[in-house]
Amino acid sequence: MRSFGYAEAENAQGLAAALGKGYRIKAGGIDLLDMMKERIDKSERIVSITGMTELRGIKERDGGVAIGALTTLNEIARDETLRKAFPALPDTVCNAATPQVREVATIAGNILQRPRCWFFRQAEYNCLRKSGQACYAVAGDNTYHSIYPMGACHITHPSNIAPALVAVGAQIIASDGKNPKSYDIRDFFLTPEQDLKRENKLPQNEFITEIFLPKMPEKSAYVEVKEKQSFDWPLAACVATYADKKWSIILAHVAPVPLRATLAENVVGEKADIDENLALQAAEAAVKTAQPMAYNGFRVHLAKAVVRRALLKACGKDFHA
């Protein structure tokens, strides 16, 4: 790893000051250190915030649930409140990455992690997202790239947990050290069309303090498909939630952002109980706008499969039948 200046923030004021000096935040550090080891992230100053314990923990508040930014994936996976009220949320992370990584990786870090694109992750490929001239996925091996075109770069969004948060319309609470800021997670993420270099709207001088889920869904389910069952990123995943007579159907790992399948949501409408046939129709609708690349056409079929399965699972039905 290249050399960097190191600091520890003890509170929001100190952290804001660090950001003002150009420090980059390290929480669990898994993604940041990976990027630095690959010499892609060239931050010269790193500020550790693991000492800010007030940013850690899961609390019920105002009829919803507040998850501190530094809450680890394992804490979320094991949380009894979430397990009962919103099982899809812990399900998204209980097999994410590895047990050792989940021990330190935080919810904010998971949301903010950089894309897993294998061209982006190698310094030798000076791709669009790294100020280069080309997206190598266009003519290269794009097996794991986006199947929904959203601009010149073809990453998929790597977060497992973000789709569940998008499904329930979570708020991202951030701070610049003085004032709290709130972002609706449904328009927090940026497509490559909106911005080629950034995956979200969080400005450099702000940090996430909390994720607030205003309301728990009545039904929820998470389904993923992986090539390998031990430590793998999904080829496609889906979160389906039902609340206030509305379904949210969010696809993950298939597009540059957690993708709201509005066409599928329209198909299921207000129906609380979904049968096989309707689930299948919704699944078809979800992939209507998919446009796979040369190597990843099979994942359109998988996107369809996870939508069908998530809807049936949310309704307590056996999707294997």
Binding site: M1, R2, S3, F4, G5, Y6, A7, E8, A9, E10, N11, A12, Q13, G14, L15, A17, A18, K21, G22, K26, G29, I30, L33, D34, K37, K42, E44, R45, I46, V47, S48, T50, N95, A97, T98, P99, Q100, V101, E103, V104, A123, E124, N126, S131, G132, Q133, A134, Y136, A139, Q229, S230, F231
Partner: protein, 213 residues
């Protein structure tokens, strides 16, 4: 802080067209991004409330490893893995993938299993670190170590210290794991020789005999 010019942005780009790609495309870099106000140093440490700055140079720190306070000189960039192996001669913690994806460098930090390759040593001050060597000497974990040995849970053995450490944490978290819980609990560890069956048996047998303390 060393050489400021290291902030050069690498511009080794290929041209966008496929034809352009084929021949004579290596493009030298040019653009240098100069970041403002970078003169990090110890002298800057004072001043900002709520922020402790350490600079980038060598530092003396103390780590509590396997019950002993150990003093060592590191840089902020030194990973816990490198500190253990090269400063403290604890080479049971293996470097295999160096990206947190194989579990070979797993250690316990305050009883929790973490990958030391993705952990900064400087962050570990004041924490209790236990390596495979430490597990090997801890009477509380002796039943687990013995169970690994009795089951011959090693072939080349390179992955095994990391798997032992992760198993120790697993049995603390779940004293009587199901076969699936054992597999999922070890899902962050790779064994290339394929000793997994023995490892599962060792963990299960240890749990059935009363587990770890």
């Amino acid at each position: 802080m060393h050489d400021d010019e290291q902030s050069d942005v690498q511009q080794a780009a290929f041209r966008t067209s496929r034809r352009g790609f084929l021949k004579g495309v290596g493009i030298a870099s040019a653009a240098t991004v100069v970041l403002p106000g970078l003169s990090l140093g110890q002298e800057e440490a004072a001043g900002t409330p709520g922020l402790k700055e350490f600079g980038s140079g060598p530092l003396e720190i103390s780590l509590k490893v396997n019950g002993d306070e150990r003093k060592l000189s590191i840089e902020p960039r030194t990973t816990l893995l490198d500190a253990l192996r090269t400063k403290l001669a604890l080479t049971g913690t293996k470097e295999i993938c160096d990206r947190g994806s194989c579990g070979g460098c797993t250690v316990l930090v305050d009883g929790r299993a973490m990958v030391s390759c993705m952990t900064l040593a400087i962050d570990m001050q004041g924490r209790e670190i236990t390596t495979a060597e430490g597990i090997g000497k801890d009477p509380g974990f002796a039943p687990l170590v013995d169970s690994f040995c009795e089951h011959d849970a090693a072939q080349c053995g390179f992955c095994i210290p990391g798997i032992l450490v992760r198993s120790a944490a697993l049995l603390k978290e779940i004293p009587n794991p199901t076969p699936l819980e054992i597999r999922e609990g070890l899902a962050g560890n790779i064994c290339r020789c394929g000793t997994y069956s023995r490892i599962f048996d060792a963990v299960e047998a240890c749990a059935k005999k009363g587990g770890v303390a």
